[in-house]
Symmetry: C2
Subunit: 352 residues, 2 copies
């Protein structure tokens, strides 16, 4: 550890670094240049002469230097990180979105802080609060509805924010999503066109899931238009997991509650798949006895028999587009569109 050259100090020099005592100063010393030159070589190799660059690169290798981004962040006021906040990581279509986000950001040198809220608004706020302390250069968040304080913190952060998987006329900053309301209306219209007339909406409604609420509203609005005077049928559960077993349970619940139902509109392919498979077990013919629709176009949807009518969402693309918007903002490039509607696609298959 060649760092002793200040004999005039009365106190022993502070040694707090437990790990990696190698600093930029060590590299600079080894290469015979100033720390500034090392810093420049690391961030913009072209700004240093070829010979100097080589010496520095060699010094980096010899010393096993690993740059400390916390110091860099503090000095430059750029953290080179993006905070991503999603409801759940597992069993979730949002994983694809995060992969898309990450696929675009990592090659640009940005790293991703990931947190999940379990669909609880208070947890979302706490997470945003906590992640703000990391001073990310951008935020990515699922959903367009947040607590007052959460919104406030995001706005005060002074960095780009992308809300996603929904649309809103009053975004915090940027939005990449689609209309859950319109998507569900499309499903209802499709079923009505096919002649189904006793529709039931079924799904898991977590308190903090504004996408599910939008979908329910889309169902109700379309139902009112297509079946005026008919009482809409809605069956939801709040605490169940998003698993196929829940879909099977919901099927049973719908059949018990509204036996006259001839089509079930599920909020997710996971639930719809569970229901289709249970129908097969029960001898209920899909779609002859009962039509079933899903949401999300999961892998399974096209492989089930009957194959599942559903709404395809470009989940990965949401992540990639969001990352591109964030990058543009973070690199001070112009962003023309503040709200990007990526749309959706109704995939009519055999279950309806």
């Amino acid at each position: 550890m060649p760092r002793e050259s200040v004999p005039t100090k009365t106190r022993a020099p502070r040694r707090r670094s437990a790990t990696s005592a190698v600093t930029m100063a060590d590299v600079a010393a080894a290469a015979g240049v100033s720390t500034q030159t090392v810093s420049r070589a690391l961030r913009d190799p072209a700004s240093v002469s070829g010979e100097t660059l080589q010496r520095i690169e060699e010094a980096v290798r010899n010393t096993h230097y690993v740059q400390n981004f916390a110091a860099s962040h503090l000095a430059s006021n750029r953290s080179m990180t993006v905070a991503a906040i999603i409801p759940a990581i597992s069993t979730s279509i949002f994983a694809e979105t995060i992969q898309g986000l990450s696929d675009v950001l990592l090659p640009e040198g940005y790293q991703v802080f990931l947190g999940h809220t379990d669909y609880v608004a208070a947890r979302e706020e706490a997470l945003i609060r906590s992640l703000s302390g990391r001073r990310p250069d951008g935020f990515f968040i699922i959903g367009t509805q947040h607590t007052r304080d959460a919104t406030h913190i995001l706005k005060r952060a002074g960095v780009p924010v992308v809300e996603s998987w929904g649309l809103t006329s009053r975004p915090i900053d940027l939005v990449v999503g689609f209309s859950n309301h319109a998507a569900m209306k499309t499903v209802v219209n499709h079923l009505a066109d096919r002649g189904y007339h006793r529709l039931t909406f079924a799904g898991v409604m977590k308190p903090g899931d504004d996408r599910a609420k939008e979908r329910r509203k889309g169902f109700l609005d379309a139902h009112g238009e297509r079946f005026p005077g008919v009482e809409p049928q809605v069956v939801t559960v709040a605490s169940n997991s998003m698993i196929m077993a829940t879909g099977a349970e919901l099927l049973d619940l719908v059949r018990a509650t509204y036996p006259e139902t001839d089509a079930i509109v599920f909020t997710s392919d996971v639930l719809a798949s569970g229901a289709v498979l249970r129908c097969n077990d029960l001898g209920v013919r899909v779609p002859a006895d009962l039509a079933i629709t899903g949401f999300g176009n999961y892998d399974i949807a096209g492989h089930l028999r009957p194959s599942l009518t559903t709404v395809a969402i470009a989940s990965r693309r949401i992540g990639m587009l969001s990352a591109e918007l964030l990058l543009a903002r973070m690199q001070n490039k112009p962003v023309t569109e503040r709200v990007i509607d990526i749309g959706f696609e109704l995939l009519v298959r055999d279950s309806s």
Copy 2:
């Protein structure tokens, strides 16, 4: 000798903070205390008198102060972050592991950096290198085989490292996993016991997927024991995605290559499910004509008809246990077990 202060400010003071000009000093001023007291109040409220604490909390609220963790990190040499490295986020059972990890770490104040490697060793190394610069207080990584340099960086980081989803006698630091080799032997033995005797191993083998390699080896070893002299049958693809369509393709490939096959051992439930559904389409009876086994006990496995024989892995638990080990290390608590084998469970269902 104290350095002289320079009262002659010839230059204007630097102002680099674009965002959140509120610092601890502002809070301290508002509360009429020193920054030190604010710092203490934030990290250990009990170390400050009740009245002072209240004034500080009020000042924090009024100023909208958000602590800067980068500065905290630099000064304390603790980042309160954990880096997590997984092959893929989406369509992946690892998402559950990350959720488990995150569920344990977030409440303790740690935040998670997430990166994915797409099963490419070089990307893993690059990611580890890059994440090291964030000076995480711990690493979590899927797999037990890494490049020389990657291993070296992890060791030099001087923080706890958990490798997972496999076992090794020479861990970098800690391991939480199970034997993929033993799991696959168990599957083969089960099939052999049931009277199947022309087994084919089928799966996606990405170059950097050491779990898949271990599984293949387990298959081959068990096959050699149970069917001495019989040439083992292996059908793998390298570049296909882990989706059901690939399972259907593999089924076709196996039937074309080894028509005498009476049982297919897949490396994943996703593939096995695709194969089962295709068998249903083709009129191939499972398990009468062909037995099929999966791996991972995904949600779908129990709902398929026939239901899928598979190996259950406590994916979420791997994450939680890993987090607990990391926490123990990071908080200087004793860790007795360096290698934790969480085992696996063969679930015999109707497909075999």
